[in-house]
C-alpha cells in the first residue's frame, strides 16, 4: 500500500525554505484560502503566528510545520499540496523567500487508491523522477 503525504515540497522550495530559515529562524506555514491570497501558503516566523488547538498539521517542510484551518482541510483533503516557489511578491504579511518571489501551493487530486492509503506523515523531499511521475 503506497504511503502518500498530504504535503510535499519541490527542490526549489526546499532550498528557499532552508535559506529563509537560516535568515529568519524557525518558520511556520499556514495555508490561505481566501481573497487575494487564495491558495497561497503564508509563511511567518514561528513566534509570530499563534497556532490553536484546532489547527490541522499537514506535515513538515524542511522541519517547519505546515498548518491548515480545520474547516478548510475538510474541503482540501482530497488533494495533495505541493509547496513551490513562484514569481512575485507574497500577499498579506507573509515572508518572501527572496525579492520578488513568494511561496505557492500547487495541488494534485489524489487517486482513489491514494485516498485509502492517506496517512499523516512527515513531508519529504522527492526525487526528480518522482516529481516527473507526479506531473
Amino acid at each position: 500500500m503506497k504511503t502518500v503525504a498530504p504535503i510535499i515540497t519541490t527542490p526549489t522550495a526546499v532550498d528557499a525554505v532552508t535559506e529563509l530559515r537560516q535568515r529568519r529562524g524557525q518558520l511556520v506555514f499556514y495555508q490561505s484560502g481566501g481573497c487575494c491570497g487564495g491558495s497561497l501558503p503564508m509563511c511567518f516566523e514561528e513566534k509570530e503566528f499563534r497556532i490553536g488547538d484546532n489547527d490541522v498539521l499537514l506535515g513538515y517542510v524542511v522541519g517547519c510545520p505546515f498548518y491548515i484551518d480545520p474547516r478548510q482541510y475538510e474541503k482540501w483533503k482530497h488533494t495533495q499540496l505541493i509547496l513551490d516557489v513562484g514569481e512575485g511578491e507574497p500577499q498579506g504579511f507573509s515572508l518572501a523567500p527572496a525579492d520578488d518571489l513568494h511561496f505557492i501551493t500547487r495541488s494534485r487530486v489524489f487517486s482513489p487508491e491514494e485516498r485509502v492509503a492517506l496517512v499523516v506523515t512527515r513531508s519529504r523531499v522527492f526525487s526528480p523522477e518522482e516529481r516527473v511521475a507526479l506531473e
Binding site: S32, G34, C35, C36, F49, D69, E87, G88, G92
Partner: protein, 519 residues
Amino acid sequence: MSTTTETRAPASKVYQAPGNPGSPVEVKPRYENFIGGRWVAPVKEQYMKNLSPTNAKVFTEVPRSTPEDIEVALDAAHAAKKEWGETSLTERAKLLNQIADAIEDNLEMLAVAESWDNGKPVRETLAADIPLSADHFRYFAGETRSLEGSSTEIDKDTVAYHFHEPLGVVGQIIPFNFPLLMAAWKIAPALAGGNCTVIKPASTTPWSILKLAEVIGDLVPAGTLNIVTGPGGEIGKALASNPRISKIAFTGETVTGRLIMQYAAENIIPSTTELGGKSPNIFFADVMAADDEFLDKAVEGLVLYAFNKGEVCTCPSRALIHESIYDRFMERALERIARIRQGNPLDLSTQMGAQNSKAQLDKITEYVHIGLEEGAECLIGGKQPKLEGELANGYFFEPTVLKGHNKMRVFQEEIFGPVLAVTTFKDEAEALEIANDTLYGLGSGVWTRDGKLAYRMGRAIQAGRVWTNCYHMYPAGASFGGYKMSGVGRELYRPTLTEHYTQTKSLLVSYSDSPLGLF
C-alpha cells in the same frame, strides 16, 4: 421579442499611458511616503519598483519602507490627533466634502492612474471606482455633520450624556483590487470620526494612492493622513501590532486577517477585517418567465463575475442555476461572455483588463488546472488570450466558466480571477444548501421575480450582503462586511462611524448635592 442588450461600440478613445505625452497623468521617476503633510523619504532609503500589469513594465518606484517609517508616520499622526480630534463637526464635514470635490475635479487623472497601476479597465474606474470614492467622502461628510450623541434622564437629578469621541490614531491596511476605493472606504470614516490614520496600500498597487495624496495633500491637516508604502511582511506587523494605534482595520487575505486579530488582542484594541468570499449567485427558474429587460439584467448579473477581472472579494464566482432553465440561460450567458472585450485597459471600449500581477495570473492558471483535474468541464476560456504588441506581456486571462459541483475546490476557494464555477439546483432547499456550503459569507446574489422567495432566500443565506435582483453595487448607506470566515465588522454605513471609528463616552452627571450615605 428579444431585448438583449447589444454592447454598442462606445466612443473610441484610448488614453495615453501615464507619463506619456498627452496622458492626463504625470509620473515622477520616484515617489516618497506621504507623512505629516509632506513627502518624506524612507528612513533606510530603499525603494521598490512598480510596474503596470498591462505590459509588465516598470514605470516608477515607491518607498520600500521599514518599521522605522511606520514610527515616523505614527509620530506625525500623534502630533496631529489632538487638534483634529477637537475640530468641530462643521469643519470636519467641510474637509471631507473638499476631498470629494478634489477627487471629482481630478476624475480622469485618478481613473487613468488607477487603471494603469491595477490593470482594471478605465471604463470601470471612470464609471465606478472614482465616483464611488468621491461619494464615500460625501456620505461621511453628511454623517459627520449630523453626528449626534444621546442623553438619558436617569432620575430628576442624574443625567447620562453619551458622546462619540475619536479613537485617536488608527492603522489601516488595504488590498490591491480597488486601491483608491478601498482607501476611501478606510480614510473617510477614520477622518470623519476625528481620527488620524496611517494607511498602507498593497505592494503591487502602491502608486495611485500617492497620486491621490498629490490631489488632497494640501487639504488635509498635516498628520491626519499618512501613507507608508512597502511589503506587508516587512511593515504590516510594525503597524498592526504597534502599541501606538487605537484600532486596526484590514481588508485582505484570511490568514493575515487572523494575524491582525491576534495582534489587536495583544494590545486590547478593536480590529475590523474584511477577508475573502465565494459568493453564490442564484438564478431561479422564473427569471426566464419572460424574454424582457429583467432577463437581460439577470444574464448580465451572471456575467458580472468578470467585473474587475474577478478580483473582488464579493465576486459572484459560483453561479447556481435552476436545472430547468440551465441550458437556455447558460446559452445566453456564454454568448455574452464570448463577446467580452478584453485588451488595453486604457481603451474606453475595453471591458476586461489585466490581472493584477504575474502571481495572480499563475494562481488562476493553477486553479483551472485543479478544477479540470477534479472533473470540472471548461465551457469557455481557461487560458490566456493572445494579445498584440505590448499587451502580449500583460497578465491577461480569458473569462472562464467551469461546470461542476459544490464540493470541488474551485467551488470552495476564492480564485480571485475571471473564473466562474457553475452548477445547477433542483429546488429552493437545495439552492440554499449549496449557497451556504462554504467557509465564507461576504456576498451573495438572488435573482427571481418572486418577492416572497427573494426575501426567504435573502434572510436564510449566511452572508453579510445579499444582492437581490442586482449585483456589484456598493453605495454608501448599505452595510458591507462578512459572516463566517469573511471577517468581522461592517463598513459603508453610519454604524461604521459610530461603532468602529469612534468610542462612546458616557458622562454620568449628578445635579444633586446629597451624599449617598454609604460612608
